[in-house]
C-alpha cells in the first residue's frame, strides 16, 4: 500500500486518457506529458497506459507500506527518499516504511511517479484519469491510500531521451483557420518567443500574442494540442483536460511530443513555435 502523507500543490492520478466518449462532451484527460509518463512506466515494466501519479510544481510525500519498485521521470524536482537525495530516470527499489518526498520543481513543471505493477484506482468511463465531476475526486488528497496491484511485467517499451522535454521548441502544424491570420502575424509566429503567463491541465496562456482581431467561428471540435486565437490576439493552447469544442479560430495544432514539451513549462518560460508540415 502507498499512503499519501502530503498532497503537495497539485497531484492527480492519470493514465493515457479517456477515449470514445468525447462526443458526449467528455474531455480526454490523461498525463500532460506522455513522454515522461511512458518513460516512468517503462522503467518499472508497466504498460504505457498504466495509472501513474502526476505531481505538479511542488510538494508531495508518499509512505510505502510494502516493498516495491518505482521510477520517477519528467521534471527535475528537489526530492528525497528517507531524506537521501534521489535522481530521475532510474528504477528504484523501495523497502517497506520508506518515505518519498518531493520538494520544489527545479527544472520543468510536472513529474511522474510510476509504481511497478500499478496501483488501484477506480476506472470511470474507461479511464482512471482524475477529472472533476467524472471521478469521485479531482485531486489526490492527504491520507489517500492506494493498494498495489502487482500486475505482470510488460515487455520493455522504448525509452525517450529525458532531455527532450526541456527544449523550448514547440513543433506545430497549421490549424484549419491558420489562413485567417495576417502575414505579419505569421512572421511573428515563426520568429518570436512566447512567454507562458499561466497554465493548468486545461490550457496554457501566453503573455504576448498576435494582432487584435474579430475572427470567430461556429462552435467546432478541438483536441488536446489545438492552439486557439482569441479576439485580443492572445493564444490559448488546449491541453489534456481541455473541452471538446470551441468557438475561437484554431490556428495551430501541436502533436503529442509538443504537448509534452509545453507541459513542462511554467509561468515566465519562453517557447518558440516551429511550423512543420503534416506529412
Amino acid at each position: 500500500m502507498i499512503e499519501v502523507l502530503d498532497s503537495g500543490y497539485h497531484i492527480t492520478v492519470q493514465d493515457l486518457g479517456r477515449f470514445g466518449l468525447s462526443r458526449y462532451g467528455v474531455p480526454s484527460a490523461g498525463s500532460m506529458d506522455y513522454v515522461s509518463a511512458s518513460n516512468a512506466n517503462s522503467l518499472v515494466g508497466n504498460s504505457r497506459n498504466e495509472t501513474i501519479f502526476e505531481i505538479t510544481m511542488m510538494g508531495g510525500k508518499f509512505l510505502f507500506r510494502d516493498d516495491i519498485s518505482i521510477a520517477i521521470c519528467g521534471a527535475i524536482f528537489d526530492m528525497s527518499l528517507n531524506n537521501k537525495s534521489i535522481k530521475n530516470d532510474f528504477r528504484i527499489d523501495i523497502k517497506k516504511g520508506d518515505v518519498l518526498n518531493f520538494g520544489k520543481a527545479l527544472k520543468g513543471f510536472r513529474v511522474y511517479l510510476a509504481i511497478s505493477g500499478g496501483f488501484k484506482v477506480q476506472s470511470v468511463l474507461n479511464s482512471t484519469s482524475f477529472f472533476e465531476n467524472i471521478t469521485s475526486e479531482p485531486t489526490v488528497k492527504k491520507g489517500d491510500k492506494f493498494i498495489l496491484l502487482r500486475k505482470k511485467k510488460q515487455k520493455q517499451v522504448n525509452f525517450t531521451n529525458p532531455e527532450f522535454i526541456f527544449n523550448n521548441k514547440i513543433e506545430v502544424f497549421r490549424g484549419p483557420e491558420f489562413n485567417l491570420i495576417h502575414k505579419n502575424d505569421v512572421k511573428l509566429l515563426n520568429e518570436d518567443c512566447f512567454v507562458v503567463s499561466s497554465n493548468n491541465r486545461m490550457g496554457y496562456f501566453f503573455e504576448n500574442g498576435l494582432s487584435v482581431n474579430n475572427f470567430s467561428i461556429i462552435t467546432s471540435p478541438v483536441i488536446p494540442g489545438t492552439i486557439q486565437l482569441t479576439p485580443s490576439g492572445k493564444m490559448i493552447a488546449l491541453m489534456r483536460d481541455g473541452q471538446v469544442t470551441g468557438g475561437y479560430p484554431r490556428i495551430l495544432q501541436m502533436n503529442n511530443n509538443s504537448l509534452s514539451v509545453l507541459s513542462q513549462k511554467k509561468q515566465g518560460d519562453k517557447i518558440k513555435f516551429k511550423l512543420v508540415d503534416l506529412a
Partner: protein, 249 residues
C-alpha cells in the same frame, strides 16, 4: 414517415497525425446536423475510428493510429458520404424530452437582472422560454452539456462581461443566442433563469453517459418549487421517469 434527405458538400482538412476534420457549409441548421449524424452513424462502425467530436457544421474524426495515406482515407470518407442512403437517415424517430425547470426565485439568480436587460417581464420570459422546443445539435463544453438550437430571438442577450465563478449544477441559462443546462457545477458567463433537478450525465454508463441522445429535441416544463423538491427526491431514489413525446416534422 419517410424523411427527405438533403446532402451537403463536404470538404476535408488534415487536423493532426491521427485526425481529419470534415467541414459542412458553415451555418447552423438541422438539415446539416442530419447529414452529419447519418455520416457519423456509418463512420462509428469503422474499426479504424477511435471516436469523433461533433460541431454544428463540422466533424472531427479521430483514428486509432496515424493516418498513412491521407488522400486515400479522404476518398473513402467522400464515398461513404456520397453513398449514404435515405434509409440511413433519421431512421431513429426523434423525441421531445421534457425537462422540468423551476424558474422561481431561489433557482433563478440572474432572472431579475436579465429581465431588466432585455426589457421583458419575467412571466413573459418564462412563457417564451418554455413554449419552444430546442434541438440538440451536439454535446460539448462540459461532459453532458447540450448545444441547443431554437432560442427565440426576443431572448437573445450578450453573455455577462464577467463570468460567474460558480454556476450550480442543473442551472438553466441564456447566453448570446443560446440557451442551455449546466450538467455540473462550473464557471459560466450565461444568465441563470432556472434550475432542473434532473441528472443529465451518468458516469456509471461507460458506453452512453448522457441520458438524452443528441439529434433529439427538449422542452422546458415549468414546475413549482414544491414539484421541484418532489422530482429531486424521486431522481435521487432512481424512481423518476423522464417524459418524452414523439416529434413529427
Amino acid at each position: 414517415m419517410i424523411y427527405l434527405m438533403k446532402k451537403f458538400k463536404i470538404n476535408f482538412f488534415r487536423y493532426s497525425l491521427n485526425s481529419i476534420l470534415v467541414n459542412w457549409p458553415q451555418k447552423i441548421s438541422i438539415e446539416i446536423s442530419n447529414d452529419i449524424n447519418s455520416f457519423c452513424k456509418v463512420i462509428l462502425n469503422n474499426p479504424d475510428v477511435l471516436e469523433f467530436r461533433k460541431g454544428y457544421c463540422s466533424l472531427l474524426i479521430i483514428f486509432k493510429s496515424k493516418i498513412i495515406d491521407y488522400n486515400n482515407v479522404c476518398d473513402t470518407l467522400f464515398e461513404i458520404h456520397n453513398n449514404l442512403q435515405v434509409d440511413d437517415i433519421n431512421v431513429v424517430k426523434k423525441s421531445i424530452w421534457e425537462i422540468p425547470v423551476c424558474y422561481e426565485k431561489q433557482f433563478s439568480n440572474d432572472l431579475d437582472e436579465y429581465s431588466k436587460k432585455i426589457s421583458l417581464p419575467k412571466e413573459e420570459i418564462i412563457q417564451i422560454h418554455s413554449s419552444k422546443i430546442y434541438y440538440i445539435h451536439m454535446y460539448g463544453f462540459l461532459p453532458g452539456f447540450m448545444y441547443l438550437g431554437g432560442l427565440d430571438s426576443k431572448l437573445f442577450l450578450k453573455r455577462k462581461n464577467i463570468p460567474s465563478r460558480r454556476v450550480i449544477k442543473g442551472s438553466v441559462a441564456i447566453g448570446g443566442t443560446q440557451t442551455g443546462i449546466y450538467p455540473s457545477n462550473s464557471p459560466g458567463g450565461w444568465y441563470v433563469i432556472g434550475n432542473t433537478p434532473l441528472n443529465l450525465f451518468n458516469t456509471s454508463n461507460s458506453t452512453k453517459p448522457v441520458i438524452i441522445p443528441d439529434a433529439n429535441y427538449i422542452k422546458f416544463i415549468p414546475v413549482s418549487a414544491e414539484e421541484y423538491s418532489f422530482i429531486e427526491y424521486s431522481v435521487k431514489n432512481l424512481k423518476y421517469k423522464l417524459q418524452k413525446k414523439d416529434y413529427n416534422d
